[in-house]
Symmetry: C2
Subunit: 210 residues, 2 copies
């Protein structure tokens, strides 16, 4: 049975997955790259990087994934739907290499890019988007790519089987929180916590069998 | 030089150090005992408990401590200042065994109890309270005992040298948060994260030498 997974989803100690304000120059606002430095220090990002626990977790990102669903705020900076030429942040060969479903209230035609990246734009509930992504994933798993509002919506809808959250030891103070409205969410999951010498802590939520 | 320390301060994944509402029957509100089960499962609380990493951290609580400062909400439930007979939650021999300074807008005479526990009630700024506690501590360290508002006030005032926070893998959703208003607090500290097989993660903030 294919699973729905979240990977490498980094938050501050106070639960913010992005800072503010988000812009073309600063996709994560005042957080800058601080939430993702743990990942950039591994071979996942840099050939000369580390290959320990942080790398091991990071690697799961693409393993067995057949499609991604992301929110509008991940695809571009505020206002991107008004720019017909916006093609995402990632250049001509984005790092997904699968169909990608972008949740937006401003759908546009499919965007076919190099490396197996095809972006589909749709207005849909989490369950509808997941059905479309599963269809496209060819029996593989679907990754929910963020941002925090989208991950939260899928958690609230009970659609996440595997959630990997990385707690970074910084206090951001402002931005968009992951956990809001999710009181008691742990009841449906087994939770593992593993700290890394890098200072981050990897939390793995695995959905309990019913 | 004596230090000012916080120990065994437990928060949920979303940063709440207590649930709501707080009452005589439920000092931590809807959180119940969930934030402190990790500690109650060790020899710190129960002779038959575990003696690993959780116990090792818990033990630091009293080591080298000469006085505690606590907030009014730790000393009693809402309304305790109106009850002249309220003597705390802990029976006639509370677990502090040092002078304890209770920050309150309703001071009352000193309360002398068994086991070296003397409670002093004062209206004071964090710096003033710390000066009084240091004087009473006889050269030993001062513990800031909580609750979250008091820990936050002392952090904001730059008065904490050692902060031990225990992140418990539950999402409380509501209550009193620790991290509010503390953006960037990590800059003044070295931070260590260690996960325990029990599922909690111990964060140790050690103030950097200037």
């Amino acid at each position: 049975m294919p699973r729905t997974r979240v990977h490498n989803f980094s938050i501050s100690l106070d639960g913010f997955a992005t800072g503010e304000p988000q812009s073309l120059e600063a996709p994560f606002g005042h957080a800058g790259q601080r939430l993702h430095r743990w990942m950039m220090a591994t071979r996942f990002w840099d050939e000369a990087g580390s290959a320990g626990v942080d790398y091991s977790f990071a690697l799961q990102h693409s393993e067995g994934i057949g499609a991604e669903i992301m929110g509008a705020n991940k695809f571009g900076p505020p206002g991107w739907p008004d720019d017909p030429d916006w093609r995402g942040w990632w250049g001509e060969n984005p790092p997904f290499h699968t169909p990608v479903f972008v949740l937006t209230h401003h759908p546009r035609p499919d965007l076919v890019m190099e490396g197996g990246n095809t972006f589909h734009f749709l207005t849909a509930t989490p369950a509808e988007a997941l059905a479309a992504a599963r269809e496209a994933a060819g029996g593989l798993d679907v990754r929910i790519g963020g941002g925090p509002s989208v991950v939260r919506d899928f958690l609230t809808a009970g659609l996440i089987d595997h959630l990997h959250v990385v707690v970074v030891p910084i206090v951001l103070g402002r931005g968009v929180r992951l956990w809001d409205g999710l009181e008691g969410i742990e009841a449906g999951y087994d939770v593992e916590a593993v700290s890394s010498p890098s200072g981050v802590t990897h939390l793995t939520f695995t959905r309990r069998a019913d």
